[in-house]
């Protein structure tokens, strides 16, 4: 009896452990994958042969769109909350806890600080559709430098990365770099795509 039963079950393999393992791995990868964050503008980055990878955490990204608008993004939910508090202090604006929570979860944003409160009061869907003018960073009215300074106070380990569109005009990039150097940020990263053609 027993012998025959063993025979009977042997041709069909028990796949349960394999399925378990497979789904375990699927869950792991699903949870660890960070999908490309939503950007308010599409940025077509120039390519380079550099093979340094950007670290995952403690990154401040300054996005420069094709039309020259400058966007700001920083990772870390809690550092963002302290950042907003500091910015509010400096510009004499107070943000409600809901607004702070929204700011903590927001992707890249490019609105002047004066309009930030209104912008935060919009729903996420409305925020996607509204046209963001970019953060002012010219020499007369430079809000970008405050964002940079306050971010570095909130998170001293921060690395700064510039993500520019290949077709952005250079003067805007020059302003951004000048702002960085003025704030004693001499070491920063330029985000690029990998060059398709092999280098020789």
């Amino acid at each position: 009896m027993g012998k025959i039963k063993v025979h009977r079950t042997s041709p069909s393999l028990d796949m349960t452990p394999m399925v378990d393992l497979a789904f375990l791995l699927v869950t792991f990868f699903m949870l660890t994958t960070k999908f490309a964050p939503e950007e308010p503008v599409a940025v077509d980055m120039p390519s380079s042969t550099s093979e340094i990878r950007l670290p995952d955490t403690d990154i401040l990204t300054i996005t420069i769109a094709k039309d020259g608008a400058v966007f700001f993004n920083m990772d870390g939910k809690y550092t963002r909350q302290t950042l907003l508090g500091k910015i509010g202090e400096k510009y004499g604006q107070s943000f409600t806890p809901e607004e702070t929570a929204r700011f903590a979860l927001m992707p890249s944003m490019g609105v002047p600080i004066g309009n930030l409160k209104e912008f935060l009061d919009l729903t996420p869907d409305e925020r996607k559709t509204v046209k963001q003018p970019g953060i002012p960073c010219d020499s007369v009215h430079n809000e970008l430098q405050d964002w940079i300074v306050m971010s570095r106070i909130s998170n001293p380990k921060l690395r700064i990365a510039v993500k520019g569109d290949g077709n952005a005009n250079y003067p805007v990039v020059k302003e951004v770099i000048k702002t960085l150097v003025d704030r004693k940020v001499n070491r920063f990263n330029l985000i690029t795509n990998l060059e398709r053609t092999a280098k020789d």
Partner: protein, 176 residues
């Protein structure tokens, strides 16, 4: 097939019970297929999603004008990045002969390699004009990386350089 063989091999008891037994087993193959498909997808997307970066280090802002390092003007090669992906380059500072090239492999890279071989301790000044694009700057930094030039700096363009470009462009159209 195996099912039939099993029945033949068993040969005992009533078929009813056995058929019930076999029906409780679910074929997991499609599920496994799906699981591994997802697994492969997530594995591939995670590894390829990270962007590349170039690290650049800008010089500290000099406090005094005298703090600026002096370089031999014969060892200086200036690249002016202009519109339409054109590069104007010259060696030295006083009364230079300006040449034009582009970003292709036989263009600026060849020029840089030649200069690098000819001049010891060459310093390259990159001066992007206001009508150049960000892409040009990244490309030229990349060329510096490829040609292994260690001493270079991004400098603001001066009116003198803009005049050189104009002069060169003017000369070009006149000879054509």
């Amino acid at each position: 097939m195996s099912e039939v063989a099993q029945q033949g091999g068993g040969g005992k008891g009533d078929g009813k019970v056995r058929s019930k037994k076999s029906s409780t087993k679910i074929d997991m193959t499609p599920m496994v297929d799906l699981a591994f498909l997802l697994l492969t997808f997530f594995m591939l997307t995670t590894t390829f999603n990270k962007p590349q970066t170039m690290e650049i280090i800008m010089p500290e802002k000099p406090k005094e004008e005298e703090d600026q390092p002096l370089v031999n003007e014969k060892k200086v090669v200036t690249l002016l990045l202009s519109k339409d992906d054109k590069i104007y380059y010259y060696q030295g500072i006083t009364d230079p002969t300006v040449e034009v090239t582009n970003f292709s492999k036989d263009g600026i890279r060849k020029v840089l390699l030649e200069y690098n071989a000819a001049i010891k301790d060459m310093t390259v000044l990159i001066k992007p004009a206001d009508n150049s694009r960000y892409k040009n700057v990244v490309d030229i930094l990349d060329e510096m990386n490829i040609t292994n030039i260690k001493r270079y700096a991004i400098v603001d363009i001066t009116p003198v350089d803009e005049n050189l470009i104009k002069k060169k462009d003017g000369g070009e159209t006149a000879t054509k």
